[in-house]
Every structure is written in structure tokens, then in C-alpha cells.
Amino acid sequence: MFYSIRYATKQAFVQVVRNRAMGVASIFSITAILLILGLFFVLVVNINVAVEKAMGDFDTVQICLLDETEYTQTESMMETLGNMKGVTGTTYLSKEDALQDWKADWGENARMLDTLADNPLPNSIIVAVSELTDANAVAEKAGTLEGVEDVIYYKETVEKLVKITDFMQMAALIIMAFLVIVSIVVVSNTIKLTVFARAREINIMKYIGATNWFIRGPFLIEGMLIGLVSALVSTGVVALVYSKIMSLIANEIFTILQMPMVPVEFLVFNLIWIFIALGVSIGAFGSIVSMRRFLDT
């Protein structure tokens, strides 16, 4: 066992060096495919993070109260709502505090709010829920209570976001699966050329009594090496391109969407494992597929 692994590894390196051009061609094709996958990955991760953040903002229901509602009445409302399933907390937000928050949000422009003659904001109860589905029930219940003016709750927005991300993830998954199959075909064809070049040797090995795995071993390791190199190259390229893009548009994205982009370190750390796993399995599968015909008997 030990000798055969050592033999296979040694042979794989010899083969890679001997078939440099072929190896480089394989590395190019796997890298190209990993880069496309990487593009999808970057998009999906950023959208996921954005949606999660948005959903974090939207997991509250704001119940606006009529100005004439008594505080005791408000307290009993808070108790009723606080006891509902999935509710993690209720806070009272007075109209004065709400105005302060508003001013804080506006920062330098807060002076404009000073000109308001009257505070237009209502007193409100903020109900935090753990699940979006629970928010539905809370909103419905609050609507039936007396002294409630309005219920603000971003149900449709959240549902739309969830739908979009589900769709994006599904689409990305299908495209990724397709690309992985394509890359296996490409790699297996490239490796097939090196197998052809060694058909005589394989033929002799079979007559001498080599097992199929012994014959496959060096090609398998060669495929995995090619996959590994491709993974490293593509991770590097993605990291470079992504950090360049970030330096160009991260500020704009933040201004427009109020959302930071996923930091490059986080992305690269995750991507490198995915790429290595994918690249190595593409290489391994590619070589097994390409060898099949040669090992029939």
C-alpha cells in the first residue's frame, strides 16, 4: 500500500512535468470554470448578507398609537403582545425619543427638523419577533386592539427579498452544477490525451497484472494536482478582482443601499476551501472518467 501510494505520487509528478502543456491547458480550463463559479459565489454571498441584514431590520413590528391613548392602556397592550408566541421583547418608543432618533439619523441635516412646529411622530410600541411568520400574527392582533392608529410592518418587502434570494440561490446552484459537469468533461478529455500517450505502458501494465487502481493512481493524483493548482490560481484571481471592485464601488454601494460589501478576507477564506474541494474533485473525476475505457478488461 505504502509503496504504491509513493509510486503513484512519484509517477504523477513525473507525468505533470512531462506533459506540461497538457497540464497548463487543464489548469486553464478548470480555472476559467472556477472563476465563473467564483463570480456567482461572490454575488450570492453578497446578496445573502444584504438580505440577512435587511431581514434583521425587518424582524420588528412597529405599532403606532393614537395620541390620546393612555399609558396604562399601552402597558396592557405591551403585556398582551409580549405574551404572544415568538415575541422576544416589546419596547415603548415615545414620540420625543422617536424624534431624537430621527435627528440622530439625519446627522448634520437635523437642523431642518428644528423648524417643525409640532412633533409629527406618534408614540409607538416596537415588538421584536424571532420568526417572520410570527410577525404576521403580531401585526394582525395589534390591528384589532383599541387605541392603535397604524401597524408598520415590512411583510411584502421581506417576502419579496426571500423569494429573490431563493431564486438566486437555486439559479446559482443549477448553473454551478452545469459548470462542474462541463469542467469534468473538459478535464477528462485533456487527461485522456495523456492516457493515450501512455496507452502502451498501460497495456503492458495490464499484462503484467497491475490492478486497475494501480494504473489509475498516478492519473488520479495528476488530476487532483491540476485541480489543486487551479483552485489556488482562481482564488488568487477572485481575491484580486474583488478587492479592486471593492475599492472602486464599496463606498457607493454603502451610500445607495446602506449595506457594506462582504469583506475580501471572509470571502477568500471561504472560497479557497470550496475551490479546492471542487477543483480536486473535478480533477479526480475527470481522470477516472477518462481512464474508464482503457481499463475495461
Binding site: 500500500m1 509503496y3 502502451r200 497495456n203 495490464k206 499484462y207 503484467i208 497484472g209 497491475a210
Partner: protein
């Protein structure tokens, strides 16, 4: 050692071998003769389980091989050495490496390889060429390397498929003497040949196959007087001619 019991192999409707029964004992040295396309290749392919018989039983080393699974084939082939007309050496490996290759394949340790390969090279008489590459050797020397590779793992049977087909008469005789020597050490030898003079002079057991039937099995002579096989015909018939290169 090798036993065929009523073995039939058809290719579509062409006969490869029909109702063939034969027994080859340990230490036998047999010549397999017959016209091109008679069924000699089928016979050898069946021993190596390169093809499967349609009916009948085949035993190699007292083991029924018609029922072997694909997984068990390598083990069978390790007990059989094989030599080809065209030597089949790996051009990028030295003589030593070509022989060592056969041992690497069956997972022998580098130490065992370093010990055994020189012994076999000396047995076949090419110790001095151990570090040469095949294209630096004469045809006879290349065939010696091929024989060394075939016997380095101590097979019980050595199959020689026209081993003298590419050699001049003197060299051919040297190879025959080497095969005889290997036979004396206890290895069964099955040699396919068209070389009438060799068969006649050696006086060994001769099995003649014609149109898929074993037509003669006796000690003595080649028995085909008017057949002068062309080189081309012999090469086309070669059973291992599906080289891609």
C-alpha cells in the same frame, strides 16, 4: 497447470476455438503452431482471460478462471509471464527500470527490487546493459530484457508469442536456449511460433490448431511443409497488436 475442457469461443459466427480440450502439465514446453487466424491467439487470450469463453472450462494453476471476477484477473496475470514478438519495452526507462517496473506493479519494496532485478538480468545475460535504454540495444538484447521482465516475478507459466519473429536465426537460437533454460528451472512454457526449423530441432511437444480445432498434439515436428508465412501476415496476426501507437 493449464487445462482446457471442451472450450468454445465464437466471434459473431466465426470460430475462434471449438470444443478444444488440452492439458499442459507443469514444466511442459509446448509449441503452439498453425496457420494465421487458426485460433492460436484465441487460445492465449483465453489463458490470460483477456476474453471469455462461450462454453467449457479453463484451469490455470489448478484454478478455474472462467468464473473469475474482473477484480481477480490481475492476480491470475501475475502468475503468467508474457513475451511479445515486438518486445514491448518502455522506451523512456532503462533496462533495469523496465524490469523493475514489473515488480513495482505488484507492490514489491525497493529493497526487493534492488536485490532481484540484477539476478534476473544476469540470468538472461545482459547485466552489463542494465543502465542502457532499449533503443541502444540490439533486437536480441531487447528480447532478453523482455524475458527478464516476464520472469522476474517468478511466474509459473511463460507465454511467448512469436518471441523469435523479429530476430535473425542466430539470435533466435540464443533466445530459444534461454527459454529452454528457464523451462529447466521449472517454468511451463507455451510458445506460439511459425519458425519451422526451431520447432523441428527442439523436439518438444507441438500442438497444432487449425480453424479453431486442435488437430494435432504430439512430440516432434512443425508439420506444415508448404506454409511460408509472410512477415506481414505474422504481424497482422499478432495477438497483442492493438497498440495505439
Amino acid at each position: 497447470m493449464i487445462k482446457f475442457d471442451n472450450v468454445t469461443k465464437l466471434y459473431n459466427s466465426n470460430v475462434g476455438l471449438q470444443n478444444a480440450s488440452i492439458e499442459i502439465a507443469k514444466r511442459d514446453f509446448i509449441f503452439l503452431v498453425g496457420p494465421s487466424g487458426a485460433g492460436k491467439s484465441t487460445f492465449i487470450k483465453l489463458i490470460l482471460k483477456e476474453i471469455d469463453a462461450d462454453s467449457g472450462k479453463i484451469q490455470v494453476n489448478n484454478q478455474e478462471i472462467t468464473t473469475l471476477s474482473n477484480r481477480q484477473i490481475p492476480k491470475l496475470r501475475r502468475s503468467i509471464g508474457i513475451v511479445f514478438q515486438d518486445f514491448r519495452l518502455l522506451p523512456k526507462k532503462t533496462v533495469f527500470e523496465n524490469v523493475a517496473f514489473a515488480m513495482e506493479i505488484i507492490h514489491m519494496s525497493p529493497r526487493a527490487i534492488r536485490r532481484q532485478v540484477p539476478q534476473v538480468l544476469s540470468l538472461v545475460g545482459i547485466s552489463s546493459k542494465a543502465s542502457k535504454y532499449p533503443d541502444e540495444l540490439s533486437a536480441g538484447e531487447q528480447q532478453r530484457v523482455a524475458i527478464a521482465r516476464a520472469i522476474v516475478n517468478n511466474p509459473t507459466v511463460l507465454i511467448a508469442d512469436e518471441p523469435t519473429g523479429n530476430l535473425d536465426p542466430d539470435t533466435a537460437w540464443e533466445i530459444m536456449r534461454l527459454l529452454e533454460q528457464i523451462n529447466l528451472r521449472g517454468t511451463t512454457i507455451v510458445m506460439v511460433t511459425h519458425a519451422k526449423d526451431i520447432v523441428d530441432k527442439m523436439g518438444k511437444r507441438v500442438v497444432a490448431i487449425e480453424k479453431g480445432h486442435i488437430v494435432r498434439d504430439e512430440f516432434g515436428s512443425y508439420g506444415y511443409n508448404n506454409e511460408i508465412p509472410s512477415y506481414r501476415g505474422m504481424y497482422q496476426e499478432g495477438i497483442f497488436n492493438h497498440n495505439v501507437l
